[in-house]
């Protein structure tokens, strides 16, 4: 059930600089929980205390926007973690 997670630049301090990591889970919530097991603290940067995606974060499975943490993830899918950037 492994999927690929592509990590936004501001979150790579959690993944030792890796742009892409693997995670397992049948839905977004499970994938993020697995991600947090391996990269402690990364989930909280994206999801708030009320299990809502933070407003400066976007998640996409392949190219579909994630609107619910219960959205299904299939083996071979790619979860993209996208952060607002401010540099100019």
């Amino acid at each position: 059930m492994a999927c690929t997670v592509r990590v936004a630049s501001p979150l790579r301090s959690y993944t030792a600089g890796a742009a892409s990591v693997d995670a397992v889970g049948h839905d977004i919530a499970a994938v993020l929980a697995d991600l947090d097991t391996n990269y402690r603290g990364i989930r909280f940067r994206m999801i708030d205390e009320h299990d809502r995606i933070r407003p400066h974060i976007r998640l996409y499975v392949n190219h579909d926007a994630v609107t619910s943490l219960q959205q299904a993830v299939h083996p071979g899918d790619t979860l993209h973690l996208i952060c607002a950037l401010s540099g100019g």
């Binding site: 933070r54 407003p55 976007r58 401010s86 540099g87």
Partner: protein, 394 residues
């Protein structure tokens, strides 16, 4: 108006393109574009727009050229260091193409001046380096009905999105709300010098296509570029019906300053005191005997704080500072008990930028008489005081 012989020669490669030709070149000549931020993104954008023959090209910035800018801000040379950015840029662009009009707006955009500044232009290009300014520009463009080409960069990653009024999502549809402290900038995190060259060129391309009415724009599509893996991706972005500025029931009807900085007067900013790492070390060493206690406030994000912080520091991320000002006031009251005076408040962050912003907020909120900024931040502390100190990446 017919093109001169010089113009025909200058724009020969455009005139050869069926998609541009003489009619398109004339459209470019009659167009007005404003580039906000004469930095990494604004440099290539402005250079290519000037070269392309955009008739009126304006630049907005209030900064001066720093030597550290030259690694990526290709508008400038060594001779421009310490000069006004927009003045130096205007000179460079006029030298590149003397047939166009270049306008230098040497000012900081605020809610009070942004509508008047942007009103006359056909296309707005956002190359700023602060997320609160991005929202200010986005909101102004939605209110004015102006197309906006946004891009942003961080380390090796870039993003771009084009807003077309009434026809696509705006920046707030993409990211409804972000605070300056949540979104690191290049000063804190660093950036590959050539990255803004790629993204700024994409912005110029979008503006030119928009003026010419050709091709497909990045409307409703977020383009991302990872320079480390040489990978472009794009993601669909839909308009949000609940968007605060372009949604069905907008709550933002006029531009708003999100950052208290813009409301801080020069006189108030003069109240901020500055400390080098060594001065702070001496002050902390003598804190027990001092009649004026000291409160250290680290305004970095929690994950940075956890990796290493100064002893006795309170962690209040910059994005939460305004909301938690009362908590700090209570801390000050508590820690001044038994002492003759209220504590001095020293703000610290990674490189000194976020902490300076915190000082300005503290002045505005009258938190303390004289907030102190640790200049150079913890990176300077590690360099000058404690080489073992771990400064977490952003």
């Amino acid at each position: 108006m017919a093109m001169t012989a010089t113009e025909k020669q200058r724009y020969a490669r455009h005139l050869s393109l069926a998609e541009i030709g003489a009619a398109g070149q004339s459209r470019l000549k009659n167009s007005k574009v404003v580039v906000i931020g004469a930095g990494g993104l604004g440099s290539p954008s402005a250079l290519y727009l000037a070269a392309a023959g955009v008739g009126k090209l304006a630049l907005v910035d209030y900064d001066v050229v720093d030597l550290s800018n030259l690694q990526r801000q290709v508008l400038f040379t060594n001779a421009d260091v310490a000069q006004s950015k927009v003045a130096a840029a205007a000179k460079r662009l006029a030298a590149l193409n003397p047939d166009i009009e270049v306008v230098a707006h040497d000012l900081q955009l605020t809610a009070d001046n942004i509508l008047d500044t942007l009103r006359e232009y056909d296309v707005v290009i956002d190359g700023t380096d602060r997320v609160s300014t991005r929202y200010l520009i986005n909101d102004a463009c939605v209110i004015l009905g102006k197309p906006l080409v946004s891009a942003a960069i961080h380390r090796f990653e870039g993003q771009a999105l084009t807003y077309l009024p009434e026809r696509g999502p705006c920046y707030r549809c993409l990211f409804p709300n972000a605070k300056d402290g949540q979104v690191p900038n290049c000063a804190d995190a660093g950036v590959l010098g050539v990255l803004p060259g790629v993204m700024g060129s994409i912005q110029a391309t979008e503006a030119i296509k928009l003026i010419l009415g050709i091709g497909e724009l990045l409307t409703g599509r977020l383009l991302t570029y990872d320079a480390l893996t040489t990978r472009f991706d794009e993601f669909t972005v839909a308009r949000r019906t609940d968007c605060a500025v372009c949604g069905e029931h907008p709550t933002i009807l006029t531009p708003q300053d999100a950052v208290p900085k813009s409301k801080t007067t020069a006189a108030q900013r003069a109240l901020i005191s500055h400390s080098t790492p060594r001065q702070l070390q001496l002050r902390l060493g003598s804190a027990a005997e001092s009649t004026t206690p000291i409160l250290l406030v680290d305004v970095r994000e929690p994950h940075e704080f956890e990796r290493g912080h100064l002893a006795g520091c309170v962690n209040v991320p910059i994005g939460e500072l305004a909301a938690r000002m009362d908590e700090l006031v209570a801390s000050l009251s508590g820690s001044s008990r038994g002492r003759s005076s209220r504590p001095d408040v020293v703000f610290v962050c990674r490189s000194g930028g976020r902490s300076l912003q915190a000082c300005e907020m503290a002045v505005g909120a009258r938190l303390t008489a004289v907030p102190i900024n640790l200049d150079g931040g913890l990176l300077a502390w590690a360099r000058d005081v404690d080489p073992e100190f771990v400064v977490a990446p952003v």
